[in-house]
Symmetry: C2
Amino acid sequence: MKKSTQASAKDKPTVSTSRRSPCPVACALDTIGDRWTLLIVRDLILGRSRFKDFTSSPEGIPTNILSNRLQRLLETQIVTHCAAADGSKRLAYQLTEKGKALGVIVIAMRDWGLAWEPGAAAKMSPL
Amino acid sequence: MKKSTQASAKDKPTVSTSRRSPCPVACALDTIGDRWTLLIVRDLILGRSRFKDFTSSPEGIPTNILSNRLQRLLETQIVTHCAAADGSKRLAYQLTEKGKALGVIVIAMRDWGLAWEPGAAAKMSPL
DNA sequence: GATTATCGCTTGTAAAACGCAAGTGAAAAT
DNA sequence: ATTTTCACTTGCGTTTTACAAGCGATAATC
């Protein structure tokens, strides 16, 4: 008993529901404003879909952080689970409509990075 | 002596010069990827220019964080000091070209927030 | 011109988040 | 059947954050 698919009381939310203000920019930053989340979205846009795909990106995200961010992205409905492309039982992730809508932000960041950050390489972003 | 305008050895950099990868998205996130920086940029776009202006924004940024982020923004040449509009001796801040170029990212976040974040209010963003 | 208030920070401290390494159980490959 | 890969979780030390208080310099007020 107590082993249902429902969220139990022990499941502490990984995303705080409180917003700092009603400003849409602040709301967006409350959800995606950290150093890792948009890199996962970038990978998803590039067609990567599995845990190990994200860990093998050049930035080297720690697995506990990745796990936490994927859960947040699920909670905020930016990604959903889906079947793996190779038909295996392992899970994969894909962007929802809400998640795909983040594409313009990622593109804007890519463009700004390319234009203003000296270390940025164009070949890294076939977006 | 030792009291020059140069950076002394004691001035520890508030911005790490190391990039996680050459990806322009990652480079952008290394510079502006946190929960506060783009809110300051938003305020600057809205015409606010002084320390107290930023502290009086509805999100209530802590003053030590604000101080740290302003210094980073100066170091990364996203903002510069300028004379206060009222002619007083107090300093003010303004966006550089590099900083103004962040406008499209802020706009993209506003649009996404408005479209997908329930709590976001349109009136908060006369951008 | 003396006092008071405001401004632009800095410092102290506790709590939270982060980053690294190691471990674990289920699935897949051999 | 054994080994390897995968997708995490756990522990733990370090860093960052948030909240409060303090402080010198400027500006306003009496």
